[in-house]
């Protein structure tokens, strides 16, 4: 291990050793960031080390210790751990307030930084404990395993069959007929491209398994829009990107990704 030169002073005494209970190697920043979940965690560690109840801690002395840790890290790339510095600033503020004589009840609205910090520490301690308890619960796939047995292969209920082009045309005709009923609307002409529509259809199919054929057609787009959609679907089928399925005669036509 490298010899380390430390110039920190604690209460006038030169501070020449790393704290014994927590080994801090030269590249301590990573260790600090790995060992603690954040400034509250480090602070909680310092408090527990003194075996003190959070409510009875002397913020001043814990602040002192915390700042010593930060001091030890001074030469490291501490800008990566801004949260730790923020906490250091807050502790320093609390400490300096404690040092100053307090004006007698000026307006009573002074923010009590100390109890605010203690509340934060308590809330964090609570959740830290909760996380540990959660980890102790039996976990599926680690501590317990769901039982599974192979079952004999059987034919699935749904049989997907090839479909006739006439079925497709009939389905499109039905969509067009519905559009006729809507022709009285004044529709602003939109620029629609087949390519764009193809991507859109693929997007729609990505999440769901199957989408009903007629769901792709928005009657409000007018005849032109419907034709673009229809061509887009035909083009996608031609490129074998999508598949048209009819589970039984006279049932709805469905579209899915290949």
């Amino acid at each position: 291990m490298n010899e380390l030169v430390i110039n920190a002073k604690v209460q006038g005494e030169p501070f020449t050793k790393w704290p014994k209970d927590l080994y801090i190697p030269p590249d301590a920043l990573e260790v600090l960031l790995d060992t603690f979940e954040g400034p509250l965690d480090l602070l909680l560690y310092l408090i527990k080390q003194q075996n003190l109840d959070i409510l009875n801690i002397s913020i001043a002395s814990v602040a002192q210790q915390y700042l010593e840790y930060i001091q030890l890290m001074k030469e490291l790339r501490f800008e990566l751990a801004a949260e730790y510095l923020l906490m250091a600033a807050m502790l320093a503020e609390i400490k300096s307030r404690l040092l100053l004589p307090r004006p007698i009840e000026a307006d009573g609205e002074e923010i009590d930084l100390r109890s605010e910090l203690i509340s934060k520490l308590q809330a964090y301690e609570q959740i830290k404990k909760a996380a540990q308890d959660l980890d102790k619960l039996p976990q599926q796939g680690i501590d317990v395993f769901w039982a599974i047995a192979e079952c004999h292969a059987f034919e699935l209920n749904k049989i997907e069959s090839e479909i006739d082009v006439s079925v497709l045309l009939n389905a499109f005709k039905a969509v067009l007929e519905r559009a006729e009923l809507n022709t009285s609307h004044v529709i602003a002409r939109e620029v629609l491209s087949v390519r764009e529509r193809m991507s859109h259809i693929l997007d729609l199919l990505r999440g769901d398994n199957k989408i009903c054929f007629s769901a792709f057609f928005k009657v409000s787009e007018g005849r032109m829009g419907l034709v673009v959609t229809f061509i887009a679907i035909l083009e996608l089928v031609k490129q074998s990107l999508i598949e048209l399925i009819q589970e039984d005669l006279l049932t709805v036509l469905q579209v899915k990704l290949v």
Partner: protein, 185 residues
Amino acid sequence: MSLEQLKPILEAALFAVGHPLSVERMQTLFPGDEKPSIDEIKGALKALGDDCQTRGIELKELASGFCFQTKEYLNPWLKNIWQEKPQRYSRAFLETLALIAYRQPITRGEIEAIRGVAVNANIIKTLMEKEWIRTVGYRDLPGKPALFATTRQFLDYFNLKSLEDLPSLLPLTNAQAIPEEGFVV
């Protein structure tokens, strides 16, 4: 259908599917005229559970329904079946998850305020991908932050039936009642 007929069907269904099944779902296995009642199914499940006493598996009720699973005390032997040790989750992951479980619905900002550090985006992403958490709404604040809550899959994974079964939290003492501190230089 008699209890003795019902038992093997439900047992086989639970083993075949390999994940929890709800009682309602079990009911749909039967055609209309022989559909057993919910109580009949529950009775058969109770009997199946009792049958497990001397076996290596137990019938457990989780958030999504019932499933057979290995008894926890057998884990020391079972874990040797696999070469690789299953990975346990990091503290940051568990703390984030615990906050979502105990304080749901909760925003990312609220999680950060309690943990005192930024939430790693990968943790939220992983939790979402595992379907342990979901977005249940958006807080009416600038930026409309998403509100996270846990799912049934989360409860299933941790072997729980409902959120009430989570271990209880440490009690909080009122920080306002803290005695004043004298500071000695």
